[in-house]
């Protein structure tokens, strides 16, 4: 049974990694889940040598993380797997929430047009991992399967690992260690690092069902449906006619009993309400915690993804936020490894991503408190909200069936330079870059596809030709120690003949200028992970230099 054939990745003996003297590598990643693999790909794109260890030799067992949000897809575009993943996934934007059988609330994740990627795609985690493995290998990452890290000794300037393989153990040193070994993180536990937060007393059943069904590609969520009274149910479409159905069971449910097909099948039959044939592909019972490590950086150890933070599944904030961790981390690591930024730049990984983790924890905790009320009064308010939501817009806004993963506005980041000029839009320092349609080299294109990997200055001009006075200083930025590449967005069409080293894009629909509240001469300094760090109404070389210094932690005090 099953719609998916699991690949087996070849084990290679560690002959080249062991010897009389313990070897030292610049970067080792532990864990080949979506987050570890994203980090490996990004590190290769930054030209870093990557060694990745995973204790298994295949992809994720079961569909697990299913929903990948717009921001994650934009990061996957930068990593070179966006199309592969989106082409395989089920795109959706609309979510419907039902109270009993009545629809009370509906949301659209991307209510306006003009973005390359949809609000969300659903795709079984194994497909995502398979695509990421292929990409990492193509980029020359050294992936080692059946390598289990059993010990980590953290030193000031490196980590010493003990690694078990089918050919016995060996030791290896890493200048930097990215820990992506999941929610139970053996490395985190071995080092005795605490994770603080709340445990939720509830159990959920996931059933992945193969069936022919004509439900639309939407997220459907029921409070207290007749087919599963008193609890909630969530339905998602995946590829291969696989449907993810998530039943709330309550804390008293017996996880072993509830996993038995004779218990699961009647629940599904009640829900589907007809005799349609279906097959069970995967069943899992889960509980969850909302918690995070106090610090994501411990000297040379950098914790990412579930190893660093865990949230409730309502909102798909697990894998999505983990991939954003890698997105935030790798460019900083590259600058530090190249000697272009001080080591304290990596403290801002901790700063930015603990901030994001807290926002994810806040939102997923609030969703959980709405979905699974903890007291009779909470339930009364929940039911009152659902009742009012049928008729009143304000109450619909309060219905919380999961606030879906969106990127954080890193407004508190010490890498940002506060605004001096007035802007009306949401692209504040710290904001994730907003996509928009453009015309590049005469073809329809997307703004975000021109950003990533290094610092860039987005400059708004009237014409393709740069103003004479600005031409030299703008192009000179590419020669700075930390280079800044120019991306020019013009209000007027770009003549085919105009030859430029830099990207010159035509804002044909005016949406870039609108979304960035741009006037002629407006500049945005963009981080390598597509976040705004500074912006001005006019270019000033000195201000850009100062902002870049700040964005690379050159001008920060010793303690961030």
């Amino acid at each position: 049974m099953g719609t998916y054939i699991y690949p087996t990745y070849a084990y290679r003996a560690p002959d080249d990694l062991r010897g009389a003297v313990v070897q030292r590598r610049p970067l080792v990643i532990v864990g080949a889940g979506p987050v570890g693999l994203a980090a490996a790909i990004d590190a290769r794109l930054q030209g870093l040598e990557v060694l990745l260890f995973d204790e298994d030799d295949s992809v994720s067992s079961g569909s697990r993380a299913v929903c990948y949000a717009k921001r994650t897809l934009e990061i996957l575009d930068r990593l070179g797997v966006g199309d592969t993943v989106v082409d395989q996934g089920v795109c959706w934007n609309v979510g419907r929430t039902f109270s009993r059988e009545e629809e009370v609330y509906q949301f659209n994740l991307v209510p306006e047009a003009g973005y390359k990627r949809p609000g969300m795609i659903n795709l079984q985690q194994y497909y995502l991992e398979e695509a990421l493995v292929a990409r990492a290998l193509a980029l020359g990452a050294d992936l080692r399967w059946k390598y289990k890290v059993t010990g980590v000794l953290a030193q000031d300037t490196f980590a010493r690992l003990t690694v078990e393989t089918p050919d016995g153990p060996f030791e290896l040193e890493a200048d930097w260690l990215i820990v992506a070994d999941g929610a139970r993180s053996p490395i985190r536990q071995a080092l005795g690092l605490e994770v603080e937060g709340r445990v939720f007393k509830d159990r959920f059943l996931i059933a992945d069902v193969v069936m022919k069904a004509d439900f639309p590609a939407e997220r459907w969520f029921w409070f207290d449906p007749a087919f599963h009274p008193g609890q909630s149910v969530l339905l998602h479409k995946q590829r291969d006619n696989v449907w993810r159905i998530d039943f709330q069971l309550g804390w008293d449910a017996d996880p072993l009993e509830e996993k038995k097909p004779e218990r699961v099948l009647p629940r599904l039959q009640a829900m589907l309400g007809d005799e349609r044939p279906f097959e069970l592909e995967w069943i899992s019972i889960y509980t969850f915690q909302c918690r995070r490590m106090k610090e994501f950086r411990h000297g040379r150890l950098l914790f990412v993804g579930d190893a660093a933070h865990q949230v409730s599944p309502f909102g798909a904030r697990g894998a999505n936020s983990g991939i954003q961790d890698a997105d935030d981390l790798i460019w900083k690591l590259k600058l530090v490894l190249s000697g272009l930024a001080p080591e304290r730049l990596l403290d801002t990984y901790n700063q930015d991503r603990t901030y994001a983790a807290d926002e994810n924890l806040l939102n997923s905790t609030r969703s959980t408190d709405f979905i699974t009320p903890k007291s009779p009064m909470s339930k009364t308010f929940r039911d009152a909200t659902l009742a009012l939501a049928k008729h009143h817009a304000f109450a619909r806004k309060l219905v919380n069936s999961g606030r879906l993963s969106v990127p954080s506005y890193l407004t508190q980041s010490s890498l940002n330079t506060p605004d001096l000029d007035d802007f009306e839009d949401d692209q504040v320092p710290g904001a994730p870059l907003c996509d928009a349609p453009v015309v590049g080299k005469g073809e329809a294109a997307w703004l975000l596809d021109y950003f990533g990997h290094g610092f860039q200055l987005l400059v708004f001009t009237d014409e393709a030709e740069l103003p004479v006075a600005l031409n030299a200083p703008l192009l000179a930025m590419a020669g700075w120690p930390v280079p800044v590449q120019l991306v020019q967005v013009c209000a007027a069409p770009v003549p085919a003949a105009s030859e430029h080293a830099q990207a010159v894009l035509f804002d044909a629909q005016g949406l870039v200028a609108q979304r960035y509240d741009a006037t002629t001469g407006t500049c945005y300094l963009i981080r390598p992970d597509q976040h705004v760090v500074a912006r001005w109404r006019h270019f000033d070389e000195g201000l850009v230099q100062a902002a870049l210094a700040r964005a690379t932690a050159q001008s920060l005090k010793e303690n961030v």
């Binding site: 609030r366 007291s375 009779p376 009064m377 909470s378 909200t385 008729h391 009143h392 304000f394 309060l398």
Partner: protein
């Protein structure tokens, strides 16, 4: 003035980047208010809260409208 039924939550000095955030801030504060109370205590706290808010609104025609809607289908 008639009863405001569109989303209306906000907090001075706070900037929101997501349309659900202000309402969720309120809802969390509401549940926090009831933290560790017995059912009886919660009912009393709710009653006091209604009286405080009713005085703040002041306009009894608006309050009647709200009371009618609250009572509907109960």
């Amino acid at each position: 003035m008639s009863l405001q039924l569109s989303p209306n939550f906000r907090e001075p000095g706070k900037r929101y980047f997501r349309d659900f955030s202000a309402g969720d801030d309120f809802y969390e504060a509401l549940l926090d208010m009831h933290q560790d109370l017995s059912d009886e205590q919660s009912a009393l706290v709710n009653a006091k809260l209604i009286l405080l808010l009713a005085n703040h609104v002041g306009d009894i025609s608006v309050l009647r409208e709200a009371m009618n809607l609250a009572r509907e289908a109960v």
